[in-house]
Symmetry: D2
Subunit: 145 residues, 4 copies
């Protein structure tokens, strides 16, 4: 039904989607498995290029939360005509009691319903790429304005 791509860096994604009993039609691509604090613009260029080249127009990217907004800015500068939703988890899935399922569920829904643009989906909300930051004290994402 949806032609979403899930650019992911965690091998847990298929398991999470199975748990969620997800029937969305998607294709998965593993681009890199790095600590997001160590991501450089070269890595972001790979993500942008993959988002640009793929045939899908609705894309979910799972990403470490620390530099999620930097990647959002980088992707927005690419001015692709696609709906791109970046999400992740504060508590890694493998640790249990994770927000991964909740966030991925919302990210897939946002990818299917929001107009073209780059968004961050965390905490049940979506944020435009240019209006979001991670509050490092609370661990919650919030609007800048």
């Amino acid at each position: 039904m949806i032609d979403g791509t899930l650019h992911f860096e965690e091998t847990h994604l298929p398991e999470i989607l199975k748990l969620g009993r997800c029937t969305v039609d998607y294709s998965l691509r593993t681009l890199m498995m790095v600590d997001s604090l160590e991501m450089k613009d070269d890595d972001r260029a790979i993500i942008l290029n993959s988002a640009k080249k793929c045939s899908e127009n609705r894309i979910v990217i799972t990403h470490g939360t620390d530099t999620m907004t930097e990647t959002a800015h980088y992707l927005a500068a690419g001015k692709l005509n696609k709906t791109i939703v970046i999400t992740g988890a504060m508590i890694p899935y493998k640790f249990g009691a994770s927000d991964a399922l909740f966030n991925l569920g919302s990210a897939l829904a946002y990818a299917q319903t929001l107009p073209s643009g780059v968004y961050v989906a965390m905490n049940g909300q979506f944020y435009n790429w240019d209006n979001v930051r991670k509050n490092r004290e609370t661990g919650f994402f919030e609007a800048l304005k």
Copy 2:
């Protein structure tokens, strides 16, 4: 941010929202805690009335999966000018390995982004109230046409 109401029948909902680290601004109302197979139109009238009377315009209803579509039809007949999303879980949250978090994450996102109407959100997808059924053999929801 969103004025969603969560009509729910399970005491697990606050726990699920906390796990999901949800920061959506909502109010919770417990309407009934019944087996959905035993729900009657009197029960559905209570849900419709609550959805009509509440000040919120974006509403998520958690519901047993067996009669989810019947309730969707009942609510659609009420022709409220609101976005109403019905969701639930195939595997109860208390059993573990549940799809509850995933479904609630997607339902909250759909409630914030879809136009007025009545929808069922399951398996990562959304369905119009008049175009969905639960496949009782597979346990997945699917479009009628």
Copy 3:
């Protein structure tokens, strides 16, 4: 910004878009110029094929109002993963005092914001392909249910 295609049958479309000072990035394709009452499934197959083959995922089709819903059904059966909005005018543009500008403005907006699916946009509203008819007495479109 949007990659909409306008499948149209009227040479007035560029003029209407110019009047509307439209800056949406689109490509225009003329598929046929026929009276919609004389359209056959062969014609609809051409439209479906064009919608399928084009690289765009958000499509507006201008169409005579008499068989708009038939074409909507035909296109829906194609189950494309695209947002397709069919619109038209009750009063032809060349006659003046036409609803063409208003309808095209709304159709372009719906194409940019609605999830994948087939819709009819008339009278400022949008209708799912399976829930709309033209009331031939009043000349207004209305929901079936």
Copy 4:
């Protein structure tokens, strides 16, 4: 169907909606009829208050193009949980050959489909309140980034 309010300053609005054969269910309120270049924050406070107090959650505001973005900023600061779409016309309706119908058609559609937020709808596109300016040389609206 939609509970949109049209805050307007022109007596031409009913005529435009009639021309567009609009069947959207709305209520109209005339707040002021001033040159938008002479609008002050006192005037914007009246608009914000009206948007806040009205029972509707999907609102279209017609507005002179020169200070449309200033009003958008003012309304956004009010952080209402509603979808507010500001639109207008470069060529006044009474002069003929106006973009008013096209813009109003798109604004009504955007009001029915976009999530809560403040937007400017011009030239067939929508812009977030914080990412739009009127290019005074070309007369077209454009994204800031």
